[in-house]
């Protein structure tokens, strides 16, 4: 037997939590370096390239922020559902539906002025994404269908729906056969902040994060969500309206991911095309867990994982590592941090030799 003994901590020291995060990141970077080495690439230089790619220039940081926007919104949505212990892993599909909804509005009324069209697109995205969250909620309540399976499968349906539209009805006649819609009219594009490369979606993120924080902290509904998520038995005992809460949460969760789709289509790509799907919805799940569902931490974690994506692109260009390397790193970080959280809840000491 190991001469180590573990025991459950009564409370976690703040410095332990502070240490876990950097240690876990460091450990996962070390494993990545090892993986690079195994492929015969320069390990230390590779990690350097990763950082340089993500933080090396003011363009790089701007790129990180831009990618953090959809991750943040999807992750907020996912976290809302997770709070109620509803495992919505369908942010990817809800994101796709949001993009589809916004595009429908943009293509339908291209001539409307921006102050009318953009809210219309946002509302359409919210509704479409919300619908994609509503379906698994109803199936769960009516037929006891497991939401993990349903949300996951709806992702594929959403992506196929998106493909169907851009290959068929919505295909731009001038696209030389490429699957994409026509470029949006200027009124349908979310504007830039001053002369930076950032768009006003960033402000939407800040506002949404703030509103959700207020919601959970100061409203009765927020309290009911928190209590139900803590203990379903107690929720039933206290007469909390679990069914209504579940529907609300999934609508909200889907709607937020839908907004991410709207911003991507409108501000980043300016049209709808299959390449809009790059897995933000899955990254969002990692982010929500890393941030322990706290809106503020979700902001930080979104930025870090966005930086990872940007950094890995650099690594791909310079060292010709496969694209999957980014996914591997994402997984490594999640696993090391989850493993590290063991040390937040448990302490250990050397077992004294007993006679």
């Amino acid at each position: 037997m190991l001469p180590l003994r573990t025991f459950k901590r009564q409370e976690t020291h703040w410095w332990v939590s502070c240490l876990i995060f950097p240690t876990a990141i460091g450990l996962s970077l070390a494993i990545c370096a090892l993986l690079l080495k195994l492929q015969g690439k320069p390990a230390i230089q590779g990690i350097g390239l990763l950082f340089q790619g993500a933080f090396g220039s003011h363009w790089a940081i701007q790129d990180c922020l831009l990618k953090a926007i959809p991750i943040f919104l999807c992750s907020l949505g996912v976290a809302v559902a997770f709070r109620l212990q509803v495992w919505n892993i369908g942010a990817e599909g809800q994101f796709a539906l949001g993009a589809i909804g916004a595009t429908a509005a943009a293509l339908q009324w291209p001539g409307l002025p921006g102050y009318a069209l953009l809210p219309l697109m946002a509302a359409a995205a919210l509704a479409a994404g919300g619908l994609w969250g509503f379906i698994p909620a109803v199936l769960k309540l009516r037929m006891r269908a497991n939401e993990i399976i349903v949300t996951l499968m709806l992702n594929y349906i959403a992506i196929l729906l998106l493909d169907y539209l851009v290959y068929g009805r919505w295909k731009d006649p001038q696209s030389f056969g490429f699957p994409m819609t026509a470029i949006f009219s200027d009124n349908a594009i979310v504007g830039r902040i001053g002369d930076t490369g950032l768009h006003w979606g960033l402000a939407l993120c800040v506002a949404t994060g703030g509103v959700l924080w207020l919601f959970f902290r100061f409203t009765r509904l927020g309290y009911e969500l928190k209590a139900s998520g803590e203990n379903l038995g107690a929720a039933r005992y206290a007469g909390l309206p679990y069914e209504r809460l579940l529907i609300l949460v999934m609508l909200l969760s889907g709607g937020l991911a839908g907004w991410a789709g709207f911003l991507e289509a409108s501000a980043t790509i300016n049209r709808l095309q299959p390449s809009i799907m790059v897995g933000y919805g899955y990254t969002a799940i990692v982010v929500a867990w890393l941030a322990r569902l706290n809106p503020l931490s979700i902001g930080l974690a979104s930025f870090l994982l966005a930086a990872l994506r940007v950094g890995v692109e650099n690594l791909q260009l310079d060292l010709q590592v496969p694209a999957a390397f980014g996914g591997i790193m994402e997984g490594l970080i999640l696993l090391t941090i989850l493993a590290g959280s063991f040390f937040a809840d448990y302490g250990w000491q050397w077992r004294r030799r007993s006679a």
């Binding site: 025991f7 009564q10 409370e11 309290y223 209590a227 803590e230 203990n231 038995g233 007993s354």
Partner: protein, 495 residues
């Protein structure tokens, strides 16, 4: 004490959970052929100590000596091999298998002859006076019979030390007597018996040696013959005089607050009962005879399949479609940790669980006002520690129960359903809870569901005896004739 060396000696056992010492330098001898009672309030460290002895928990320091040899158990299996076995409160049996199969479960060997298995078990049962049919399936057995199977499992493995964790909590008075006979018989044949309890009568009736634990330490080890009365034992256990008496004013029943007529549900047959404001109706019986479904039907967790349930003059469906948060029904569930509170939320959040409607303005929750109110209740009910920021899991059982009572009484209920309100509490907390309930009787009718007859006699104005999903009889608590036959009624015979 006798002169022979102890079969088990605990030498300076210490076990800490964080800052709390669950066991502090415990020294204890267990002798063959004697019945050793381990007595202590809830949270005194009894369960931890027995966990250590049975290999489930590893001590931080100290030694366990078996026949004078130091041994360390790293698992329950090692403890069983060393001859120490435990009968838990919750039985660990395979319901679909027979008695003999359960006894042989885990026994090394590939081919087992069914008849020889049953014979072996029957022989063992006869030897220790444990009456049982080895071919019966566990699912068809009563709690008392299941307990016998657990005991047989240990005897079959030649356990020399048998530990019982509150063995009578699931038994009828009759079954308890039966168990005591078997325990005496086992002791007579050289087994060492340890039993954990906080029922003083049992300690006086059964044990040879008594060890009293308080706050993790052994306060006293003494022979039962040296104890003169139950009262004295209680005083030694708590460290101060507790009067296990409460003042009960004569009641004057007023309006009807609960009427159940012909209620049938899964596990319930034709239930009839009435509760009036100003009285406590005690529902007594052995656990698992329909108390749970009865409470669930009354408290709105399951709809009644047949019959009438009228609460505060309203039909069940009407009552539960729009009920106000106050002046209504309050439910104090048995499972205070799993149902009545959220362990990771702070005390204000837990206070708000059923009172949130009283602290709302539009969509906003008036948390500051709720905090003030909660703090006042915490002081009024003497809940320790008096801090609203700690989470519910940090409260002891007694304090948590007082928090639940404080919250539920704050709603000014007119009907209170209290389910095993003092189970697992220490004597001081029991006293507090009893007084609180008696006090609440002034404004409300109380349905008290309890497995503890003493509690029912102490608190109730009328008793309803439950057995096999039916109410066998309902009578005033001063009906001496019927009280005499209460054990028979619990076992199911008509009044």
């Amino acid at each position: 004490m006798n002169g022979s060396p102890p079969v088990v000696r605990l030498d300076g056992i210490t076990k800490r959970y964080g800052a709390v010492a669950a066991n502090q330098d415990i020294r204890l001898d267990i002798h063959s052929g004697r019945i050793h009672a381990l007595l202590g309030e809830n949270g005194a460290g009894k369960s931890t100590l027995m966990g250590i002895l049975s290999g489930m928990v590893q001590p931080d320091s100290g030694r366990i000596l078996i026949d004078g040899q130091p041994r360390a158990f790293r698992s329950a299996r090692e403890a069983i091999t060393a001859g120490i076995g435990m009968v838990y409160q919750h039985f660990m049996l395979v319901k679909a298998m027979t008695v003999a199969e359960n006894v042989f479960l885990g026994y090394p060997g590939v081919l087992l002859n069914r008849r020889r298995m049953e014979e072996t078990v029957a022989q063992l049962a006869r030897r220790f006076g444990l009456d049982i049919d080895p071919a019966a399936r566990i699912g068809t057995l009563s709690m008392g019979e299941r307990q016998r199977v657990e005991i047989l499992k240990l005897l079959f493995r030649d356990s020399r030390v048998l530990i019982f964790d509150e063995p009578t909590s699931v038994l009828t008075p009759r079954e308890s007597e039966h168990l005591f006979d078997a325990l005496r018989r086992m002791a007579a044949q050289g087994k060492a018996i340890v039993f954990i309890t906080h029922k003083l009568d049992e300690v006086m009736a059964l044990s040879d040696d008594i060890t009293i634990l308080r706050r993790g330490s052994v306060i006293e080890g003494l022979a039962t013959t040296a104890v003169t009365s139950k009262h004295e034992l209680a005083r030694r256990m708590v460290g101060r005089d507790v009067l296990l008496q409460v003042q009960r004013e004569p009641y004057e029943p007023r309006q009807l607050v609960l009427r159940v007529d012909g209620l049938s549900n899964a596990g319930l047959r034709d239930i009839r009962l009435e509760v009036r404001q100003g009285e406590i109706l005690g529902v007594v019986g052995v656990a698992g005879n329909g108390q749970k479904p009865l409470v669930e039907a009354i408290c709105g967790l399951t709809a009644p399949a047949a019959g009438v349930v009228r609460i505060l003059g309203e039909d069940w469906h009407r009552f539960y479609t729009h009920r106000r948060w106050d002046g209504n029904l309050a439910y104090i569930p048995e499972d205070r940790r799993g149902l009545a509170t959220c362990r990771n939320l702070d005390l204000v959040d837990n206070f708000l669980l059923t009172t949130r409607q009283g602290f709302c303005r539009g969509p906003w929750l008036l948390r500051r006002r709720a905090t003030r109110k909660a703090l006042r209740l915490i002081r009024d009910f003497a809940i320790q520690p008096a801090d609203t920021r700690i989470s519910a899991r940090q409260l002891s059982g007694g304090n948590l129960q007082k928090l639940v009572l404080a919250r539920e009484f704050f709603r000014r209920p007119r009907l209170i359903v209290a389910e095993q309100p003092t189970q697992g509490l220490d004597i001081a907390a029991i006293q507090d809870v009893w007084n609180l309930l008696l006090n609440a009787r002034k404004a409300a009718g109380i349905l008290l569901i309890t497995g503890d007859l003493t509690e029912a006699l102490m608190l109730a104005d009328r008793l309803a005896v439950m057995s096999a999903g039916r109410i066998v009889d309902t009578f005033p608590v001063d009906d001496a004739d019927k009280l005499d036959r209460i054990g028979l009624m619990m076992a199911g015979s008509a009044a």
